[in-house]
């Protein structure tokens, strides 16, 4: 899918009027070491939770800016899909959660020696936040501080 016009009409209408937050200036952190020696963190934006955790409440108007912490050993297929509605087709996610939380694939890249290791803590959140003030002021800095504390070298973000 390459353009907004190809999306479902309700999603297209939302995106057409969405006030995209322009990143300006664009920050640029220098790469410090080869990927094969790097600790990689993951931010997955599909509203997935660990089993037994409270669900995200992404159906609320301002959506849910909270996060869940996943471990690097989490099994994607055991995570719980709490993304409400049909903003995207959930069939792929239900069949293979690696589409949006690719922990199995990342572990394979570690095993192949292409990635040094995975961060001990990964982040799951909802990527659809029409009112992102709390995200900008509190949640995103919290995520950044966590990865810095865990001495993460690279972070992979996977949208839903």
């Amino acid at each position: 899918m390459a353009t907004m016009e190809e999306l479902p009409s309700d999603v297209h209408d939302f995106l057409r009027t969405y006030q995209w937050h322009r990143v300006d200036p664009v920050p640029w952190a220098e790469v410090r070491k080869p990927l094969a020696e790097s600790r990689v963190g993951l931010v997955a934006m599909a509203c997935m939770t660990n089993p037994g955790e409270p669900p995200f409440h992404a159906e609320e108007p301002e959506n849910d800016p909270s996060i869940r912490i996943l471990t690097s050993t989490a099994e994607p297929q055991t995570l719980v899909n709490t993304f409400p509605g049909q903003a995207f087709d959930h069939a792929g996610l239900e069949e293979d959660a690696n589409l949006l939380i690719p922990l199995d694939r990342l572990r394979e890249l570690v095993a192949e020696g292409e990635i040094g290791e995975l961060a001990p803590r990964e982040v799951s959140m909802c990527g659809h936040l029409p009112k992102p003030r709390h995200l900008i002021d509190e949640v995103a800095p919290e995520i950044a501080r966590m990865f810095v504390h865990d001495e993460v070298d690279v972070v992979l973000l996977v949208p839903a």
Binding site: M1, V23, H90, I143, L156, P159
Partner: protein, 84 residues
């Protein structure tokens, strides 16, 4: 993706990620992004297609080799087009 990526980069950690919509990425300007020609919900391509998913990840991480300053926005090159 863009807002969180930007905050992580400001903290000194490089980021990479996929985007579904070029228009959105061009407006938001995440630091390093790979445009993928897949529907929402299918960031890594197809369910249980390990080769494809790994290829998407490898091309995403390859953005780390791009010179700055950002934003860097590259298109995913399908496996078949790459001769794999």
């Amino acid at each position: 993706v863009g807002l969180v990526a930007a905050e992580i980069e400001r903290a000194g950690v490089p980021t990479v990620g996929q985007v579904y919509l070029r228009e959105a990425a061009e407006r938001m300007r995440p630091p390093r992004a790979l445009w993928v020609p897949f529907p929402h919900g299918y960031a890594l391509g197809k369910p249980n297609d390990v080769a494809l998913q790994l290829d998407v990840l490898r091309q995403t991480f390859a953005l780390l080799g791009e010179p700055g300053p950002g934003p860097v926005l590259k298109d995913y090159v399908p496996l078949s087009a790459a001769g794999a």
